[in-house]
């Protein structure tokens, strides 16, 4: 693998950039791997990466129906934060956030993690109390957050209207070390690093069946033939229910569309990420200058990556109230992704009823920020066969046992 650096660019500039290698190889699948990961999105690739890095397991294939990073990894609003209320959530998201901090150096790929700060606005007395509670919890969880007043909010985000009229800003939960990253680069950086370790990233390869012997997984049938494996990791977000069905079990998952949009690019107007849960909208400005906007998930289950227009309207109205200048910008593009929602809106990183088969799903509207932590925990689960401390509480059997990890009070609509 050619190391990326300013020096490498200078060297290539002198020879018309002819020396660059493929970022990742595109091999044909082998007959058998130690581990097959289904899904080359951020979570699947991160799982493979930490299998190699933390456990030395590199006879791994990551197989992908479409193009790598093409699911929710490539269509989210790139927010990274860990200001969660419940202990298990705070632990895994904070692990992820801390891994993001050094990811560019770790992968030798600039994922542009930008700790520009994330604020969650409190616009009702109830929300004030809720965020103060989160601040208290975060203190004991080792997550740095602070409840700030309206004046500090305005100082950090001068384009914000904090005076209402409907929902004046009463304060905000501020996580200075949260921020954003370049979503595609996260997938590409992991894919490049996995490939460099000798793993096979196999795109355009759809899984059409899961084969087992004596209650243990033995292979996956794919459009590129049958691929044997000792262990199988299913990391496919919105289509998890579909894959679980092939593996012979059911999941407590609903799939719904979550939409986002960007404005045309403008010169820097807002440095931090703002989430406004009372009015249902969140926004940041990308390095390219677009205002990146998201809101709540659609209210009905579906698999189209589109969604319904009234959600865009609701989100936009909320954000015009919060940032009146938006009114004179234009929407450049809207899109949707399919998010997999569990009953408590927290993820699943779990053993499954099929032996040596593990699943990582249910990240709902909040998966991007979790990618490295999720991959870390999933790799440990696959390598050891048992969950470690990060994954332990996220078993798929918790719903049967009543061990919910419900963030609804803290996370509100927007992850």
């Amino acid at each position: 693998m050619t190391r990326y650096s300013a020096f490498a660019i200078a060297r290539e500039a002198m020879r018309q950039h002819t020396g660059w290698q493929k970022a990742w190889a595109s091999p044909e699948p082998k007959a058998h791997y130690d581990v097959v990961i289904v899904g080359a999105g951020g979570h699947g690739l991160a799982t493979a990466y930490y299998l190699g890095k933390n456990f030395g397991i590199t006879n791994v294939a990551i197989i992908e129906k479409g193009w790598l990073g093409g699911g929710n990894t490539g269509r989210n609003t790139t927010i990274i934060r860990s200001n969660y209320l419940q202990d298990p959530s705070a632990a895994i998201y904070e692990k992820a956030r801390s891994l993001y901090e050094t990811m560019s150096q770790d992968l030798n790929y600039n994922v542009m993690f930008s700790p520009r700060g994330v604020m969650m606005l409190a616009q009702t007395e109830h929300e004030v109390r809720g965020y103060k509670r989160t601040e208290m919890a975060n203190k004991l969880q080792g997550v740095e957050t602070r409840f700030i007043g309206p004046a500090e909010v305005k100082r950090l985000v001068p384009i914000m209207n904090i005076e209402g009229p409907r929902y004046p800003v009463l304060g905000a939960l501020w996580q200075a070390r949260g921020g954003t990253a370049r979503h595609d680069a996260v997938a590409w950086g992991y894919a490049r690093a996995c490939s460099a370790m000798g793993m096979h990233v196999i795109q355009n390869c759809e899984v059409i069946g899961v084969e087992s012997v004596g209650g243990q997984v033995s292979a996956v049938a794919t459009t590129k033939g049958t691929i044997g494996c000792n262990k199988l990791g299913i990391v496919v977000a919105g289509h998890s229910g579909h894959l679980a069905n092939m593996a012979g079990f059911r999941l407590p998952i609903e799939s719904v569309a979550l939409q986002a949009m960007v404005s045309e690019p403008i010169k820097p107007a807002m440095d931090v990420v703002v989430m406004a849960n009372t009015v249902h909208g969140y926004m940041s400005q990308s390095d390219k200058g677009e205002m990146v906007i998201g809101g709540g998930a659609d209210h009905f289950n579906n698999y189209t990556q589109r969604g319904s227009w009234q959600h865009i309207e609701e989100t936009v109205r909320a954000l015009i109230e919060t940032f009146p200048m938006l009114s004179r910008l234009k929407m450049l593009r809207q899109w949707g992704g399919i998010v997999d929602m569990t009953g408590d809106r927290s993820p699943i990183i779990s053993k499954t009823p099929l032996g040596n088969t593990f699943i990582n799903c249910g990240w709902g509207t909040g998966g991007f920020k979790a990618i490295p932590g999720s991959g870390w925990a999933m790799a440990e689960l696959i390598a050891k066969g048992e969950p470690g401390s990060l994954a332990r509480d996220f078993s798929m059997f918790r719903f049967r046992e009543g061990r919910f990890i419900d963030e609804s009070v803290a996370a509100g609509v927007a992850h």
Binding site: T124, E125, I159, M331, R333, R400, F404
Partner: protein, 975 residues
């Protein structure tokens, strides 16, 4: 040098000159001009700078596909960045400024990037700025952010001066595009009696036909179009909308049409934009086609334009981009531009044609007119900087690209063929097919977007469907790079996306590095991510990619077409719902009175409730304390109208109530009230309130203020989806009643003074009873329920009588010092009494048993919602945190949400805890801080002192006590 021609211009009115400014410089155009035409007419070729290299940019196109010529328009509250000059209609006094340069358009320091192009290939930022780590945040990224972006942000401190409108419409057929194909389609549907909406994004109809001057049905296009539009406008079943673009097609025939009502008349008493939300039976896309640029070195220099755009400017506005305009093409259509220029006296030094032999009718006409046609020829390099000075020519596909001639010219028209506008077909999943002959993607009629009935609901007609009126034209030659063997140096100067500075070499680099999916290439190079969303660049880019990968174009495929077709204003998406009415504001009947009293408001759902009523000089805390003291001492009034009031009625009402509530409700006696709990299927407490049985088959369910709509929906959900055969009807009457709580030791006296026609005494009307009658002559229903622990009557009267009733109570209570009290006093008093509050003691993770509410969970009932959930192992665990009261030893108020830390950390390094505060207040009644909380095994640990987090960061000691701090025996409320 661009200039205005002496005659012609089918759209302009030379009798009406209009003055405008560009970068402060005064210029003049004519009514009917686009801003782009006016700029070119005034000789302004350089209009902007590109995104990455800050290269000089001129107008390329004549319509919505324009990638370069974006300006800031207007001032102050009407400023808007990134407006396309080609779709902006000129008006007198228009002020435009160019973008993305410093210090000036002519001299831009950022252009140094262009000199360093070798170091800034596609994706260079993924490979560098990696270490040392802090530099990304503090140095690199801020520089990148500042140099990126396009227009300036609008002023943050002013609100948009314009208004926006939205409306719903329905039709059988919506036709997008008012060219010949669209007019014909609209007419046909209209003649069949269908309800038709016809939209045209421009102020004028006719599309290309009127520019090209063809004949339609034996008539000159100009006349035919006029007649058709007039006929359609006269038909009652047709709505004709100009300046209206169908921006998106959504599932089930939902269509957005974006009407620019008053962009050209700023300040007029009209909405600026109108967003039509149309439910259409069928969508007909008559959106035409967009000409493709050609990829040759220097194709981004101002003065290089689409051949069709030049024709538009000449014919529509009598504007020529130069005095000597060369044309480069791979097809016959571009000869129309050569002929149009020739016809108005502009010199066309040559038509440079990549084809070996040029044989069609149009080239023949051009030759006949004396225009030189150079066959098998390519533009090797465009000379010039801020404008074109000449072009170097070479053989298209031989001689290794050696220069054969340098042609002097000051503008260049280019045509690489046409791409149908298939966006509306594709938005909802319509698939495309590759037309090898014309080298274009057109709709695959066998794979249309499907409607609710499984049938296609979008049809493309005319050029949008890949049908061109090209009889007599010779075949085009697909040309994706010019010359075919262009060197790296040339490919690195051949722009695909001129706004984002993506060049042929960038796409080739992406392919080389394995970003082989078209989506990877797009994201790696930013190809097609500019404000034109690839309208000009996509096909050329993916052809280059296909070539680099050695695969046919259809195998590469396209990126996803997403709405909107072209950007639409965020103001229009928001519509009228802004400011005070951005969400519905629900007001109780007594709202105005509260307002007059200077209430401090608290939003509760869409309601606004008085938090307290501060008097002059009082803090909110002072006011709350005063209100509580007065209630406890004498009497206070609470406007409880927001409380949810849902009627459940029918023969199966009791059975239904037993399923909804954890308590037994079917055995409640008529005339009685009972406090009840509702849980979700998982057993978590979701709402609470008092139920009154109004008659044998009628229950009145009080819900929390914030929960009324949710609970109503919950009831309907169960009745409609699960128990559809139960004979129960529910109706939400929350807003039909004003409800006023008269609370305090003197409550009865106040009501007696107002005068009730029924007995109010404790004997006849005890606690948890309700009665109907007249109070003060007003029909009323009184409930003896209490959320404060005081003697209390909650009285519902018709909403229309709410204010009158409130006034009577205030008047009668005057001698007792009656005062209104707000939500905060309500909260504090309920906490003093140890009553739980949904949303404070509950958060979606708490079951009734956690809150000591086991008494409200029926053991007799076979089933109720949440019963099974509550039986799961973690729910019955003895280790659950349970409700207690908390008192600090020093009398201070515990902080909101404080946790009780334990020594030690869990496996994830988090501090262990044993409980948390759920509600915490200063109690004026007790003169100290009180709190409720849930604590591990709490009820068994009465009297124990444990530590909680303090506001200062340390801990504070609190004693576990009974949650009821006030009148545990109920002597105050049961009188």
């Amino acid at each position: 040098m661009s200039h205005r021609l002496g005659t012609g211009g089918r759209l302009i009115d030379r009798a009406r000159p209009m003055d405008f400014t560009f970068n402060g410089k005064s210029m003049r155009g004519y009514a009917g001009d686009s801003l782009g035409a006016a700029l070119l007419g005034a000789g302004q070729v350089l209009v902007g700078r590109s995104f990455k290299y800050h290269r000089p940019r001129g107008i390329v196109a004549s319509g919505a596909e324009e990638p370069n010529a974006l300006v800031g328009l207007g001032e102050g509250q009407r400023f808007e960045p990134n407006q396309r000059v080609t779709t902006t209609e000129l008006f007198s006094g228009l002020k435009a400024v160019s973008q993305n340069h410093w210090p000036s358009l002519e001299f831009d320091v950022g252009a140094v990037n262009a000199k360093l192009w070798r170091f800034f290939p596609a994706g260079f930022y993924y490979k560098t700025f990696i270490s040392p780590r802090p530099l990304w945040k503090h140095v690199y990224e801020p520089i990148i952010r500042r140099s990126a972006g396009l227009g300036k942000a609008p002023d943050a401190e002013t609100r948009d001066a314009d208004r926006y409108e939205q409306l719903y419409a329905y039709c059988d057929v919506i036709v997008a595009g008012g060219g010949v194909a669209g007019l014909k389609a609209a007419r046909q549907a209209a003649d069949e009696g269908k309800r038709v909406i016809l939209t045209e994004q421009n102020p004028h109809f006719g599309g290309r036909a009127v520019v090209d001057g063809i004949e339609v049905e034996g008539q000159a296009a100009e006349d035919w179009v006029k007649a058709q539009v007039a006929a359609l406008q006269a038909m009652p079943n047709v709505t004709v909308l100009d300046r209206t673009m169908v921006s998106g097609v959504y599932d089930h025939g939902y269509v957005l049409a974006y009407q620019r009502v008053a962009d050209h008349t700023p300040g007029a008493e009209k909405p600026r934009h109108r967003l039509w939300r149309v439910r259409a039976g069928q969508v007909i896309s008559a959106t035409g086609a967009i000409e493709r640029p050609l990829s040759f070195a220097g194709n981004d220099i101002p003065g290089v334009m689409l051949a069709s755009a030049i024709r538009d400017f000449v014919v529509n506005y009598a504007v020529s981009p130069g005095k000597k305009v060369a044309i480069v093409t791979n097809n016959d259509d571009a000869y129309r531009t050569a002929l149009a220029l020739h016809a108005v006296g502009v010199t066309v030094p040559a038509v440079i044609d990549a084809r070996k032999e040029v044989t069609g009718d149009l080239p023949a006409k051009a030759r006949a007119a004396g225009i030189r046609v150079i066959e098998d020829c390519a533009v090797r390099y465009v000379e010039g900087g801020k404008s074109v000075t000449g072009v170097q020519l070479c053989r298209f596909n031989s001689d290794g690209g050696a220069v054969i001639e340098t042609l002097a010219c000051d503008a260049l028209g280019m045509s690489g063929g046409w791409s149908p506008v298939v966006h509306l077909w594709s938005h909802c999943g319509g698939k495309l097919t590759w037309d090898e002959g014309r080298a274009l993607f057109r709709p695959d009629a066998n794979r249309p977007p499907l409607g609710h009935d499984g049938q296609g609901f979008v049809t493309c007609v005319g050029a949008s469907n890949g049908e061109f009126d090209d009889e007599g034209e010779a075949a085009m030659l697909p040309v994706w790079l010019m010359p075919a063997q262009a060197s790296y140096e040339l490919r690195a100067k051949a722009w695909l996306d001129p706004q984002n500075d993506v060049k042929v070499s960038d796409v080739q680099l992406a392919a080389k590095e394995g970003y082989a999916s078209v989506e990877h290439t797009k994201r790696y190079t930013t190809l097609g991510m500019a404000t034109d969303q690839g309208k000009l660049s996509n096909i050329n880019g993916l052809a280059i990619l296909s070539d680099a990968l050695g695969q046919p174009i259809p195998q590469t495929g396209t990126t996803t077409f997403r709405p909107p077709y072209t950007p639409i204003s965020i103001g229009a998406i928001g519509g009228e719902a802004r400011g005070g009415i951005f969400q519905p504001l629900r007001k109780t009947p007594i709202y105005d009175w509260h307002m007059a009293q200077g209430a401090y408001w608290e939003p509760v759902g869409h309601w606004r409730r008085p938090y307290c009523y501060p008097k002059t000089g009082e803090t909110h805390g002072d006011a709350v304390k005063r209100e509580i003291n007065q209630v406890r001492k004498s009497v206070g009034l609470l406007d409880a109208s927001t409380l949810g009031k849902i009627i459940v009625k029918g023969p199966d009402a009791g059975r239904f109530m037993d399923m909804l509530y954890t308590n037994m409700m079917s055995n409640l006696k008529v005339g009685k009230c009972r406090y009840g709990l509702m849980c979700n299927e998982n057993g978590f407490l979701s709402d609470d309130g008092v139920v009154a049985r109004l008659s044998e088959d009628t229950f009145l369910c009080h819900t929390t203020s914030g929960g009324a709509d949710r609970i109503h929906g919950w009831m309907e959900d169960w009745l409609q989806c699960e128990w559809w055969d139960w004979k129960v009807h529910v109706v939400n009457l929350t807003e039909q009643y004003a409800q006023i709580a008269v609370v305090g030791p003197n409550a009865r006296k106040v009501i007696e003074k107002v005068g009730a026609d029924f007995d109010l005494s404790a004997e006849s009307f005890p606690f948890m009873d309700w009665k109907e009658g007249k109070i003060g002559g007003i029909e009323a229903r009184a409930f003896r329920i209490s959320f404060s622990g005081e003697l209390s009557y909650e009285i519902a009267v018709p909403a229309s009588k709410g204010q009158a009733f409130w006034d009577k109570l205030m008047a009668a209570g005057a001698e007792f010092g009656v005062m209104p009290y707000g939500t905060e006093a309500l909260h504090v008093m309920r906490a003093e009494k140890g009553f739980i509050m949904i949303g404070d003691e509950t958060d979606g993770t708490v079951i009734p048993q956690d809150l000591g509410l086991n008494w409200a969970i029926s053991k007799k009932k076979e089933d109720f919602l949440g019963k099974r959930g509550m039986e799961r192992e973690a729910m019955v665990s003895p280790d659950r945190w349970q409700l207690v009261g908390l008192e600090t030893l020093d009398g201070s108020v515990l902080p909101d949400g404080a946790l009780a830390p334990l020594p030690g950390k869990n496996d994830n390094g988090q501090q262990e805890t044993q409980g948390r505060v759920t509600s915490t207040y200063f109690s004026p009644t007790l003169g100290k801080g009180i709190a409720m909380g849930i604590v591990h095994n709490g009820p068994k640990r009465m009297g124990e002192v444990i530590q909680f987090q303090s506001a200062a960061g340390g801990t504070v000691a609190a004693r576990i006590v009974d949650p009821c701090f006030y009148d545990k025996a109920g002597e105050k409320q049961n009188v």
